[in-house]
Symmetry: C2
C-alpha cells in the first residue's frame, strides 16, 4: 500500500465525485440528456473563460486543440509571430512551421516572461502578421505571461491573438474577452479537474473572419462544423460522452466555489508553496510572480542529482512531482497546483521534498518549508 | 425511475467493472504503472486485431483516426479508390477529397456489399491508385464487406488497403494480417467496450513505406511520432489515461472470454435479433448476412411513421435504438449488438419494438420476435 499523490501540472488529480460521475452508464450522444449536459458544459466553459465568444470542444488532448488553432488560422506562407518562453512555446513554433507559416520567432529566455514591447515591435516590423501565438501559463517553467498587455497591443493590429491557456485557465484570472484574446486554447486535465481527453477553444468574431478565410484542409478539427453542430447541442463526431459528464460535474464544483474564490485558492496555495521552497534555501526558477499560480518551478540545488528527485519521491513516498522538460531536464523540479489542490497537497509535497533532498545530501532545515507554508495558509481568506 | 438500455451501434454499453476502473484516481502518464498499462493495451489490441503490425492509439473519436488514415497516406493529387456502401463510406470520400485526392468513387447501393470484382477492375483501370478505402462493418446499414476477398485483390497491387473497422473490430472475425489489411482503423466505443475518446490504427510495413513518403503536414495525428514514442510505452502528447485504464480492463475481459467466443456470442446475438425481427413480419435492410454481427438494420413497415419509433422506445421504455442515417432517415431503424451485449439486451430490444410498433398501428403478433430469438439462444454453444 503506497498512498499516491499527484502534485504535477497535468494530468492533475480529479475529485472523487467527478471520477464517480464518469462511472455513470454511457449516455447516448443523441439523447436529450446529452444535449443538456453539452449545453451546460458550454455555458460553464464560457463562465470559466469569462467570454461570450463561441467555445468549441474536441475529443483530443491539448496539443490537438493547439494544432487546430494553427490549421484553422494559418495558410501556407502566412506570417505569424510566436513569443516563446519555454517548451510549449517551442511547440507553437513547430506547429506553425509544420503548416507552412513564415515564423517570426521571439525567443525569450526560459524562466522569463514574454516582453510585450518586443511583441509590439515585431508587429510594427511585420504589419502583415496574421496571428500572434503565446502561452498564458508556460507549464515547463511556471512563468505566466502578461496577456492583458499583449492583448492590448495585438488588438490594435489586424493580427489575431492566440493564447495557449492549457495550464492556466481556471487557475489564474484570464478574462478572455476583456483581455482581447481571439483564440484561447484549454485542456481538460488541468484546472478543469477532469482526466485528459477533452480540449477546447474560445473563438472571437475577429478570429472567425480569419478562420472562414483559411483554406487549409481540415475535417476532424474543423471549427466551422463544430460551431454549426453546437447550435443543436451536438458535436460533428461522436463526443467523449463520459468526459463531458465529468466536465459538467467539475464545472458545477467550480461554479459553487465561484471563480474569484478558485483563483484566490490557487494564489494562496502557490504562495505557500513558493514560501516553503524559499524557506529551505532553494531558489525559484523564474520570477517570484504572484500571478503564477499553476506551477512552482525550483532550481535543483548544487550538489544534488536532479534526476533522482522525482524517482525517490515517487518510489518511496508515492508522490509525483514533475521534472524539467527539454533543455531544463535535471536542472529544475516542479510542483503543480492547478485544479483540485488544497493546503494538504502542498504540505505533503513540501515535506516529501525535504525528505528527498536530505537523502540526496542537501542540508535540510527540518520542517522549515512546511512551517513557512502553514504561515501563509493560516492567513488565507478562503478555505483550502 | 426509467431503467435505461443502450441498444445502439455506438456508443455502446460499458461493463460496470470497466466504468469503475475508469474511476480510479488519475495515473500520471509518465508513471511506470502507466507504461505497463499502455504496453498491455497495445498487446491486447494486437490480440483483438490479430496482427503483429504496429498499433497506434490517439485521444480522438473514430473520425480522427479516419482522417489520420488520409493525412498520413494521401498527398494532394494522389489517386485513391473509395468503395462506399453507406454513410461512413461517404465520409471516406469527403476526407480524401478534402485532402486533395483524386477520388475514384465506387458507390454501391446502400444495403449491398462492395463488389470485389468492381474494385479489381478499378485497380486495373487505375494502376497508379495509392490506396483503396472501404468499411468493414458499415454502421449505417449493418452491411459487412468481404475484406478477405478485397484484401487479396489489393495485395497484388502497389496500393495499400485501408479499412474502417470501427464498428466491426472485436465483434466479427477480422484477421488483419491474414486478410492483408494495411491500415485498420478502430474506435473505443464499439466492441472494445469503453466510452468514446480513443481511436486506433494498425499499420503494416507496406503502409509505413507510404506513410514515410507522404509529405502532408501533420502533428497531432502524425503516425511516425506515435510509433517512436510507443517504443518507450508512451504517447507523444498527454494520453487519455483514464480511457487507457478502462481499455486495459475491457481487453482483460475480452481475453478471458477469448476472441473466438466473443465472435460466436456476437454471431448468435445477431442471429437471434434477425430471426426475431423476421418473425414479426419485418424485412431486414440489406442481405441477411451471417457475418453481419454488429448491427441489425430493419425496414420501417408500411404505414408506420419511422421517425417515431426511436422516440417512443426511448421516452416510454428507456431503450435507445438507432434510426436511419443520411438518405435512410425515417426508412430504417437499427439494433446495435456490438460489444457488451447479451441475450437479455436482444430480448429487451425486440420486446420494446413489439410494443412500439403496435402503438404505431402495426399488427404485432405478441411475443413472436422474442420467442424466435429465444429459440436461437437456446441452441447457442456459448453463454450469452
Amino acid at each position: 500500500m503506497l498512498k499516491r499523490f499527484l502534485i504535477t501540472p497535468g494530468p492533475t488529480p480529479v475529485p472523487p465525485e467527478v471520477l464517480l460521475a464518469g462511472a455513470e452508464p454511457i449516455v447516448h450522444h443523441r439523447a436529450p440528456r446529452f444535449v443538456e449536459i453539452f449545453n451546460e458544459c458550454i455555458e460553464g466553459l464560457k463562465y470559466v473563460y469569462q467570454t461570450s465568444n463561441d467555445v468549441l470542444v474536441f475529443a483530443a488532448s491539448g496539443t490537438g486543440a493547439m494544432e487546430a488553432a494553427v490549421v484553422n488560422v494559418v495558410n501556407p506562407g502566412d506570417k505569424v509571430i510566436v513569443a516563446s518562453v519555454g517548451n510549449f512555446g517551442e511547440r507553437w513554433v513547430k506547429l506553425t512551421k509544420k503548416w507552412g507559416a513564415e515564423v517570426v520567432a521571439l525567443d525569450f529566455e526560459w524562466g522569463t516572461k514574454a516582453d510585450p514591447a518586443a511583441i509590439a515591435q515585431a508587429l510594427a516590423d511585420n504589419p502583415d502578421a496574421k496571428a500572434v501565438y503565446v502561452q498564458f501559463s508556460e507549464t515547463s517553467t511556471g512563468v505566466v505571461n502578461d496577456i492583458e498587455a499583449i492583448g492590448k497591443i495585438v488588438a490594435k493590429t489586424p493580427a489575431i491573438f492566440v493564447v495557449d491557456a492549457i495550464s492556466g485557465l481556471g487557475a489564474t484570472d484570464l478574462p478572455t474577452d476583456a483581455w482581447q484574446v481571439d483564440v484561447c486554447v484549454a485542456g481538460s486535465q488541468k484546472a478543469l479537474m477532469i482526466p485528459p481527453g477533452l480540449a477546447c477553444v474560445a473563438v472571437s468574431d475577429k478570429a472567425w473572419k480569419v478562420v472562414e478565410a483559411c483554406g487549409n484542409p481540415r475535417f476532424y478539427f474543423d471549427w466551422t462544423s463544430h460551431r454549426d453542430k453546437a447550435k443543436d447541442g451536438q458535436t460533428p463526431f461522436t463526443p467523449a460522452v463520459s468526459l463531458f459528464v465529468m466536465l459538467n460535474k467539475a464545472i458545477e464544483m467550480i461554479r459553487e466555489e465561484t471563480l474569484p474564490t478558485v483563483f484566490e485558492r490557487h494564489r494562496v496555495l502557490s504562495r505557500g508553496c513558493k514560501e516553503g521552497v524559499k524557506a529551505l534555501g532553494l531558489e525559484l526558477f523564474g520570477p517570484d510572480d504572484p500571478a503564477a499560480n499553476s506551477v512552482t518551478a525550483v532550481k535543483v540545488p548544487a550538489g544534488v542529482d536532479g534526476g533522482k528527485i522525482g524517482k525517490l519521491a515517487r518510489d518511496r513516498y508515492g508522490v509525483w512531482l514533475a521534472g524539467g522538460q527539454g533543455r531544463l531536464k535535471g536542472q529544475i523540479f516542479r510542483f503543480g497546483h492547478c485544479g483540485y489542490f488544497g493546503a494538504s497537497d502542498i504540505v505533503v509535497g513540501l515535506s516529501v521534498v525535504e525528505m528527498v533532498l536530505a537523502e540526496l545530501g542537501y542540508d535540510v532545515k527540518w520542517g522549515a518549508s512546511v512551517g513557512a507554508a502553514e504561515q501563509v495558509f493560516l492567513k488565507s481568506e478562503v478555505a483550502l
